[in-house]
Amino acid sequence: MSIVLYRVDDRLIHGQVVVGWGQPLEAGFIVLVDDEVRASEWEQDLYRMGVPPHIEVVFASVEEARRRLGAWNADPRSGILLARDIDTFAAIVGDANGLIRRINIGGVHHRDGRSERLRYVYLTDAEANKLRQLAARGIEITAQDVPTARAVPLQEFV
C-alpha cells in the first residue's frame, strides 16, 4: 500500500491522526519525521502512548526520511507520514523522486507572524510561498483536518 497520507500537523501524533485518519486508512504504520523527537527516547515514549499496539510508529530524522522514503513506500501496509512544519516537507521532497504526490495540511496553528488562512491553518507569507513552490513541482496540496471534511485546494487558502 505504501504511504497513503503525507500530513503537516504541528500536534504530530494525536487523536485526529490515529483515530480520524488511521481508522479509515487502516494504517499499519506511522512515520514521525522530526529531528528533535528522533533524538529523545522520552519524547518517543510520549507519542507512542497515543497509538494502539497494532500500529507501528517509526521515528525518523529528516535525513533518515530522505533515505528511507522509498522503503516505506514499498511497505505492504498503509502508512501515514507526519511532520510538524512545511520546511520539513520541503526538505524531504527534494529527494523524493516523485513519491510524494499529495500533501495534506492538517493543522498549523497560530504563532507570531502567521495569519489565519483556515480555522486550523495559520501561515506566514514565507510558508505560503513554500507551499506554492511545492505545488509548482506538481504536488497536490490541500487542507483537511479530518477525512469527513472537504479537502480545501491550496488556491483557496494561500
Binding site: D10, R11, L12, I13, H14, G15, V18, W42, L46, Y47, M49, G50, V51, G107, H109, H110, R111, R119, Y120
Partner: protein
C-alpha cells in the same frame, strides 16, 4: 498543606468545561477544578493555557485521552515538577472523588483519582 489541591481538566473541545460544570452541579464544589481545552492550540499555546490555569500552585492535571495532544502537552508541561501530577482517562467519577480528597500531595491525589475512575467503569446487567 496550606491550600487544597486544584484539578485542571485538559480535554479536546468542550469536554473539560462540561465535566467541571457537572461536578459543580452534583457536588456543589465550584473552586476545585478548572477546564482547559486544546481547541485551536499547538503545544506552545496549550502550555500557555496550562500556565494560566495552574497559577503556580500544586495541581493534578486530568487529561481526557491516554494519548494525543492533550496528554503530550500535559506530560511535557509537568515533567520534573513535583507539585504537578497527571492522570489520563478522566471521568466524572474520578473528579467527584478528587474534589473531596485534596489535602494530599499531587501524586497521592492522582493515584487515588485513577483508582476511583477505574472503579466506576462497569458493565452492569440491564
Amino acid at each position: 498543606m496550606s491550600e487544597p489541591l486544584r484539578g485542571i481538566v485538559v480535554s479536546h473541545s468542550a469536554v473539560a468545561q462540561s465535566l467541571v460544570a457537572a461536578v459543580a452541579a452534583i457536588a456543589g464544589v465550584e473552586d476545585a477544578l478548572l477546564p482547559v481545552s486544546n481547541e485551536g492550540c499547538d503545544e506552545r499555546a496549550l502550555a500557555d493555557r496550562l500556565t494560566a490555569a495552574i497559577g503556580g500552585k500544586p495541581a493534578v492535571l486530568f487529561v481526557d485521552l491516554p494519548g494525543g495532544s492533550c496528554l503530550t502537552g500535559a506530560v511535557r508541561y509537568a515533567r520534573g515538577k513535583v507539585d504537578l501530577a497527571v492522570v489520563t482517562g478522566v471521568n466524572l467519577a474520578m473528579l467527584l472523588d478528587f474534589v473531596f480528597h485534596r489535602d494530599v500531595t499531587p501524586a497521592e491525589a492522582a493515584r487515588r483519582a485513577a483508582e476511583a475512575g477505574a472503579r466506576a467503569i462497569r458493565t452492569p446487567a440491564a
